[in-house]
């Protein structure tokens, strides 16, 4: 088996090799790698042939042809539903929804069909489908292009929910998602596509394992997706004040790394959960409640106010969780 990969627009990318690339390129590399070794893998969605609107499928159609990298009409229900049918028929589809906001047009197909198929039919079939649905605030794109809906999907038995924050994770977690055999809501972040970082082609990730970004004993901060980077900046500011936080990138929302989070909370006695999604009924509430029940730690949540994201910069800013807000919440928690 040839274990090397063709990097879109560049040379071979061998296993064990480490290369700097963007979050979007890392995703394209992950799909490329899987398509090379598994003929059952297909990609379908709008604009995937030209590389996807963020370049996250760059070079794939040229390499594998239009029959495996399938340009589709703007038909989210049919894209998602056809993905379910393909999966039942033995393929392993990667379904592109463009943004999570548009994925809402394919919700019956994801929620009632993909997520329930295996259980409802008594295990007769499986739906190994990865639905890529980029989430989060897209600068100056207003209410219908800026939502963070991971908590919705976490609420649904049958689904796996992944929110990668780095190029390495977008490579490793996307591959893990494509391997897991369950339907996955794979939520990349709309403004992380250009984020560059080192990607080790040989590094694998396990769904449900968090990543410790910083170590500390003053408090635990749990976050995911782009907000991890905001929290990292906040941790640096806090460290300058002598407050060392334990920062965990949850990476997968369901299943989530209870062990890592609870160990940290038991040690620090304080938990702050930070997410870009609306705070009300956000997944932070689930983590905070679980941590308080299991360890008795003090908890605080920090998410967006329950408002749609506005267009004008000053309106949009009200929905953002910036470094100052994170640091402020951390200070209040340890007072």
């Amino acid at each position: 088996m040839d274990l090397t990969m063709q990097q879109p627009g560049a040379g071979r990318f061998a296993f064990g090799e480490v290369r700097e690339m963007s979050y979007a390129q890392a995703a394209a590399m992950a799909v490329l790698r899987e398509m090379e070794v598994d003929s059952r893998v297909v990609v379908l969605g709008e604009d995937v042939g030209r590389g996807g609107i963020f370049g996250q499928y760059a070079g794939l159609q040229a390499r594998f042809g239009a029959e495996r990298v399938i340009d589709t009409p703007i038909s989210e229900a049919a894209i998602m539903g056809a993905g379910v049918g393909m999966a039942l028929a033995g393929l392993r589809p990667v379904v592109e929804m463009r943004v999570v906001d548009f994925a809402l047009c394919g919700m019956d197909e994801l929620v009632n069909q993909a997520a329930k198929n295996r259980f409802m039919f008594g295990g007769q079939g499986r739906v190994p489908l990865v639905a890529r649905m980029p989430g989060g605030i897209w600068d100056a794109s207003a209410a219908q292009h800026s939502q963070s809906l991971e908590a919705w999907f976490a609420h649904l038995p049958g689904l796996v929910v992944v929110c990668p924050s780095t190029p390495q994770d977008n490579f490793s977690l996307l591959r893990a998602a494509m391997h897991c055999g369950d339907p996955v809501a794979y939520i990349e972040h709309k403004t992380l596509w250009g984020l560059r970082g080192e990607v080790d082609a040989g590094q694998t990730a396990k769904l449900g394992e968090g990543r410790r970004v910083r170590s500390g004993n003053a408090l635990t901060i749990v976050s995911w997706s782009r907000q991890v980077h905001v929290c990292e900046e906040a941790c640096k500011a806090l460290a300058a004040e002598g407050i060392e936080a334990d920062l965990i990138d949850l990476r997968t929302i369901w299943p989530w790394d209870r062990e890592m989070v609870l160990e940290s909370c038991a040690r620090t006695g304080r938990l702050l959960v930070v997410h870009e999604a609306v705070q009300t009924a956000g997944f932070g509430a689930e983590i905070a409640a679980s941590a308080a029940e299991a360890t008795g730690c003090r908890v605080a949540r920090l998410g967006a106010p329950r408002i749609p994201v506005g267009y004008a910069p000053i309106l949009e800013a009200q929905a953002r969780i910036d470094v100052g807000k994170v640091a402020g919440a951390a200070r209040r928690l340890i007072d």
Partner: protein, 340 residues
């Protein structure tokens, strides 16, 4: 008899398929009395089939005539009214009854019931609780068949109510754009739940909408099993030959209410009386008698079907309930065991 061999399209085989569906549904209907309806009653203790039961009584000619041309390797997606499709595709009748009873020996281990009846082993990918939801799944299955260059097709049953949902349009467009091996079958029984479809539907229905998307379609008397059989034979052959999707618009009538405990008091009794005159089984029987089949032979087919159903009822009654652990199984592998 193997219902999936070409002999399934022989007149007596078509008759047998219809009779088995009717006998199965009549028995299920009786077993559902006291069960839950769509209108908020609680399931009574006496009901063996506790959940909503959508009957295709009077529509048997459509699955019989269509599925006679399908093979086990062909896929089929169905609707909430899917007993006929499932039986005609070759699923075991007793295991179906067990599933309707919610027993461990049912096709879904008691997890699905009537609305999710399925037998993947014969290519029957499931009834569906959501109107029009089978259409996108069917085109996906057909797309996979094309990509994998399999010698197989997908058939997709849906009702007249489904053509007013977006996935119908998306799926037909998709099938034509990629020239997929899929046969769409609209079972036009004139009712969308408890509302007449006509006043809710612009234009001339499924076949007219197919024409708008350059998909060849045929309209057929859906209560004439021989007409359905002949028309389906032609369409299936075209789909198998790689000519792209086709649509069969079968005009039939929903004799029962939306669910088994729905008396359908909202409709004109004269409409039902007229429809009963076109009962596909009575028509086929009369036709077979006219063409020389002995009444005793038809009686024997009916008696065997009834005996098979009686045995299935007894089997389902005696079968065990699912183990409690089944409630936690086959959800997902990733994170399995983490229920809270």
């Amino acid at each position: 008899m193997d219902l999936t061999t070409p002999s399934a399209s022989q007149p007596l085989a078509l008759y047998r398929t219809m009779v088995r569906i009717r006998a199965f549904e009549n028995a299920a209907e009786a077993a559902s009395q006291g069960g839950v309806s769509a209108y908020g009653q609680q399931a009574g203790a006496s009901a063996k089939v506790r959940g909503p039961l959508h009957l295709s009584t009077g529509q048997e000619a459509v699955p019989a005539g269509v599925c006679a041309h399908l093979r086990p390797s062909d896929y089929l997606t169905s609707t909430h009214r899917g007993h006929g499709h499932t039986l005609a595709k070759g699923a075991d009748l007793a295991r179906m009854m067990c599933e309707l009873f919610g027993k461990a020996t049912g096709f879904n281990g008691g997890k699905g019931g009537s609305m999710h009846i399925a037998d993947f082993s014969v290519g029957m990918l499931g009834a569906n609780g959501v109107v029009a939801a089978g259409l996108p799944i069917a085109v996906g299955a057909a797309h996979a068949q094309k990509i994998q260059q399999r010698d197989a097709i997908t058939t997709c049953f849906f009702g007249d109510g489904a053509i007013n949902r977006g996935p119908f349009l998306e799926a037909l467009n998709w099938a034509r754009v990629y020239q997929l091996p899929v046969l769409f079958v609209c079972e036009d029984n004139r009712w969308s739940a408890t509302t007449a479809s006509g006043p809710m539907t612009a234009g001339d229905g499924a076949s007219a909408r197919a024409a708008a998307m350059d998909i060849e379609s045929r309209q057929v008397d859906g209560n004439d099993v021989f007409a359905v059989n002949e028309t389906a034979a032609g369409l299936v052959a075209q789909v198998r030959a790689g000519s792209g999707p086709r649509l069969l618009h079968a005009l039939t009538y929903r004799v029962k209410g939306h669910v088994s405990v729905d008396l359908a008091a909202y409709r004109d009794p004269a409409e039902l009386q007229a429809a009963l005159q076109t009962d596909p089984i009575a028509r086929a029987r009369a036709h077979l008698l006219r063409s020389g089949t002995a009444a005793a032979e038809l009686d024997a087919i009916e008696n065997r079907a009834q005996a098979e159903v009686d045995a299935a009822l007894a089997e389902a009654d005696a079968a065990p309930w699912p183990d409690v652990q089944a409630a936690f199984g086959d959800v997902q592998d990733t994170g399995a065991g983490q229920w809270t």
